[in-house]
């Protein structure tokens, strides 16, 4: 009978023969085209669906190009035993990747940094005081990583929370902008992110016109920063319309 060898042998992913990646991003001229043919200020088509996981209290699936994410929400349920009494609810977030999410096979482990970003982006939107002593768990799994992962996770998580009937002030929509040379490109894909000079990620509650989370890396002048923020805000409100219509569809489907 065939059996597996005792110890796992070391393996590698075969690389392409030529590294023939066109050097499109480096130059500062405005004429280059994005790899997927989008305009600089054009987002990928967004697809959302709620109720993706039956076992969860609420869940949502989001697909932006190759970025595919599932978020499940459990609870409000009993907090861990070690937790002390709290008169507001707790939010517990976890983001993990599948082993095949990235082009090179990964470990599929938890992503601590993203987990804490997700937590910060959502906590301002949730009415924690409506479920004292209990915990709401928000778990995200990135099925495939195609760039702008964390904003997609955040938008998807806020839909999942809405699906679970957790009380919120507003939906949270997230968008990121990459700075490549002198250009700003919105909703960057993995290829663009790997050679970006700077990145700005914003999540906001569009109806309340409030920013819940903002992270910036790279060097930005004030003017550029304002331009990028405005781009994000506009994109967020568009995204929120799509998210809202997804929720409406789901609600009308259950009523029928």
């Amino acid at each position: 009978m065939a059996s597996k060898p005792g110890s796992a042998p070391t393996t590698y992913t075969p690389t392409p023969t030529r590294k023939s990646r066109p050097p499109i991003f480096k130059d500062s001229d405005v004429d280059w085209v994005r790899p997927d043919g989008r305009g600089f200020h054009q987002c990928r088509p967004a697809f959302f669906r709620t109720g993706a996981v039956n076992a969860a209290a609420g869940s949502a699936y989001a697909e932006f190009g190759n970025t595919k994410v599932i978020v499940s929400v459990f609870g409000p349920r009993e907090s861990k035993k070690a937790m002390m009494y709290s008169d507001v609810g707790r939010l517990n977030c976890n983001v993990s990747y599948t082993t095949f999410a990235t082009p090179v096979r990964g470990q599929g482990s938890d992503h601590k940094e993203f987990s804490s970003m997700l937590h910060k982006a959502l906590e301002g939107a949730i009415m924690l005081e409506t479920f004292p002593k209990t915990t709401v768990d928000v778990f995200a799994l990135v099925l495939e990583s195609g760039g702008s992962d964390i904003p997609v996770v955040i938008s998807c998580a806020s839909l999942a929370l809405a699906d679970a009937g957790i009380m919120m002030y507003d939906l949270v929509a997230g968008v990121s902008v990459s700075c490549l040379g002198t250009n700003l490109v919105i909703d960057p894909i993995l290829e663009e992110e790997s050679c970006q000079d700077g990145n700005l990620m914003m999540t906001c509650m569009p109806s309340r016109y409030e920013v819940t989370q903002l992270t910036v890396t790279g060097e930005w002048s004030s003017a550029k920063m304002n331009e990028a923020m405005q781009l994000c805000l506009d994109a967020c409100s568009k995204l929120a319309t799509i998210m809202r219509s997804c929720l409406k569809e789901a609600a009308s489907a259950t009523q029928d």
Partner: protein, 287 residues
């Protein structure tokens, strides 16, 4: 954690509203800053920074390593923050883990720039010894000794001071190696390279309490915050990194406002910090 009575909370908020904080400062004044360099002899560079009663130590250690396959022309910089239980009993065991991850990630965002390296305080290409083969790996460790608010600004200042205190030995590649082999290197005992730290940004955290925002909040004031934004700003007034803490949302126009205030404050802070650093360096040389 800070336990405050309703009256105390009201007092703090009221003070901030009237631009007179409980320790007598205005909304945009820092507490006095003290810098001491070379505090850890084993490290390549180190500094202790005190802002009021907040005290942190940063150390820089350089080790020869191999550049990653993706960026063969860059060295690697890692930042890690440790929350000592000396600063707060709740940090005991794994209690400080969340805070230390949060601070480490925030510092990485603020100081290491974008993916391509633009806006980084430390130019990673200056760390390369032989392209694709040998580079310096910088390990920057922060330690919180005493915590009374505004940890991120203090850590940012300490790292800037520690970097200017850092000397990295000059390395000569003695024999060029072919193919996959590692070249032989000779590490000099006498010649040291100094970093140009004038480009290292400072971190300014604006903490929003009520309708106003303050700089350099103490832990009592932080317990009253609705949210806080940390800006990392360099000499040119460009923003090199930004992270937001605290749950509640902020109006985008307020953020733009905060950016310009932070830029203004950073100018003063850079001047103040650099004079403190050079004084500390001079003091160390005398000894």
């Amino acid at each position: 954690m800070v336990g405050l009575s309703v009256g105390e909370k009201y007092f703090i908020q009221g003070g901030i509203n009237q631009n007179l904080r409980s320790d007598g400062r205005k909304r945009d004044t820092y507490r006095p800053i003290f810098v001491e360099t070379g505090v850890i002899p084993q490290a390549n560079g180190s500094a202790r920074v005190r802002i009021g009663t907040t005290e942190v130590i940063a150390s820089v250690k350089a080790e020869l390593g191999r550049p990653s396959a993706l960026h063969p022309d860059k060295g690697k910089v890692a930042i890690f923050v440790d929350c000592s239980p000396v600063a707060e009993p709740t940090f005991e065991g794994r209690g400080g883990e969340d805070l230390s991850t949060e601070l480490s990630v925030a510092l990485q965002h603020c100081l290491l720039g974008g993916k391509s390296g633009a806006g980084a305080g430390i130019d990673p290409s200056s760390l390369v010894v032989a392209e694709g083969k040998v580079c310096w790996d910088l390990y920057i460790d922060g330690l919180i000794v005493s915590s009374d608010g505004n940890l991120l600004d203090a850590l940012g200042a300490a790292i800037k001071a520690a970097l200017s205190n850092t000397g990295i030995p000059r390395v000569h590649v003695t024999a060029a190696a072919s193919g996959d082999e590692q070249p032989e290197v000779d590490i000099s005992d006498e010649e040291f390279l100094q970093f140009d730290t004038s480009e290292v940004p400072v971190i300014v955290t604006l903490t929003k309490v009520g309708r106003h925002y303050i700089v350099d909040a103490t832990s009592e004031e932080e317990s009253q915050m609705s949210s806080a934004i940390s800006f990392s700003i360099n000499r040119k007034g460009h923003i090199c990194g930004l992270t937001k803490r605290g749950g509640s949302g902020i109006d985008p126009s307020v953020i733009s406002d905060m950016i310009s205030v932070a830029q203004h404050i950073s100018e003063q802070l850079i001047t103040k910090l650099e004079s403190e650093i050079s004084a500390a360096e001079a003091g160390e040389d005398e000894l």
